[in-house]
Symmetry: C2
Subunit: 233 residues, 2 copies
Amino acid sequence: MADMKKHHTECGQESQKLCISIVPIFNHLDPYEMQEIVKESRSISHKKGYTIYQAGDKSDGLYIVHKGRVKIYRLSDNGKEQLVRILEPGDFTGELSLFNESVHDAYAEALESVELCVMGRDNFQQFLLKYPAIALKVLSEFSTRLAKTEKQAASIAMESTETRVAIYLADLVEEQKRSDVTLPMSRKDLASYLGTTPETISRKLTDFENAGWIMQNEQREIIILDLDALLLA
Amino acid sequence: MADMKKHHTECGQESQKLCISIVPIFNHLDPYEMQEIVKESRSISHKKGYTIYQAGDKSDGLYIVHKGRVKIYRLSDNGKEQLVRILEPGDFTGELSLFNESVHDAYAEALESVELCVMGRDNFQQFLLKYPAIALKVLSEFSTRLAKTEKQAASIAMESTETRVAIYLADLVEEQKRSDVTLPMSRKDLASYLGTTPETISRKLTDFENAGWIMQNEQREIIILDLDALLLA
DNA sequence: TGCTGTTCTTGATGCACGTCAAGGTTTTAT
DNA sequence: ATAAAACCTTGACGTGCATCAAGAACAGCA
């Protein structure tokens, strides 16, 4: 806690209001309701590399990302890291323990300078009871994530590493809506996300390049030349 | 639809009321509220092997299992099956598409004779708005499933097949609270759930038996002799 | 600007596990 | 009760990918 003081900053009401209002699950509320939430939430900043929470920590509430990106990952017994997901502004975390367990089983780390809104467990539940429409929004967000996670699990379980990399690139194209995509993370993290190693990522990418399906520009810039060929590999 | 007629049976109000009241997310409602839900839901029976919905089907609502078990699985491009989860009485499915997409990307199949409650998408949303406490219950269920799925994905990505089988057995012990556990599914399905093959499951189990950590009784009966040794393998 | 610590690439090696195959056992259906 | 179908086990074999290692490219920072 003494250590935290050095790394984060509490903000005034003004900044908090901004913080809440930018977040999709809250941004349709009217000014009065917004105000009510602002009173119950805090705004916090951390700089790059800061560990926001770690496995074993008591879950103290809901974290909503306002600015910057946050990496959620797990560690296996043998110390290997598995990237669960990356939070962009508007995303939130801490929900898992909001309703059931009260202990985190993953780690959250600031990938860059971040600003977060934090709301206590009980406060959040009260809000959901009072504003059922928000509960539906959260439910909707959960169902999206659940679908994505189930798909990801199935993919790791059934497809070859090569196919997974190809599918990932295809997803990026769809997400970024252009054929020259930017990897949102390092190859190391990508490997961890796809359940493989950095070496294999490297090799598969050069394989794809040799096959004429992609072109690797600067580090994280990749141009997809033949999406179809890629996908039926 | 003509085909469905042969396999399912609509039930009267009496049976429906039972159906709803047995389900955890609804069973704390008072009689009047219960009645209101009953009016909006249907009760349906299917016999073993019936495909309740399949990938590509439009999602027509929420399915709550009342009796029997239902297998949810996916098919990869190359036709391999991945078991996502098994629904026990009280569990529900169809939620993913309740809020976002309207098309299933998985298959639901009756493992035995089943009875289901079915509620339309809109009706369900109205209920959640009217009874926020139910929304919280559903949210809680979602968060549990999300946690479980993320853990499962991480496990498949990071641990060896052997470790996964060991962890699965350990989870069973915890779940069933006894050291002679019963596998809830065939080895074929277990393999699909753990992202491996029936052959490998067979081999690992005999390995464990040879090491003196477990004993295999009748088909699905396994006695765990040394849980600790199993887990640090 | 250069220094230092990451990240990326490429090669060589080994093994865990998937695949194919064949025989035995249990379940289902008639 | 018996046949048919599905499931389980064990063996032999091949390979995709992790691992170890070492050099190259890059990024952060004085």
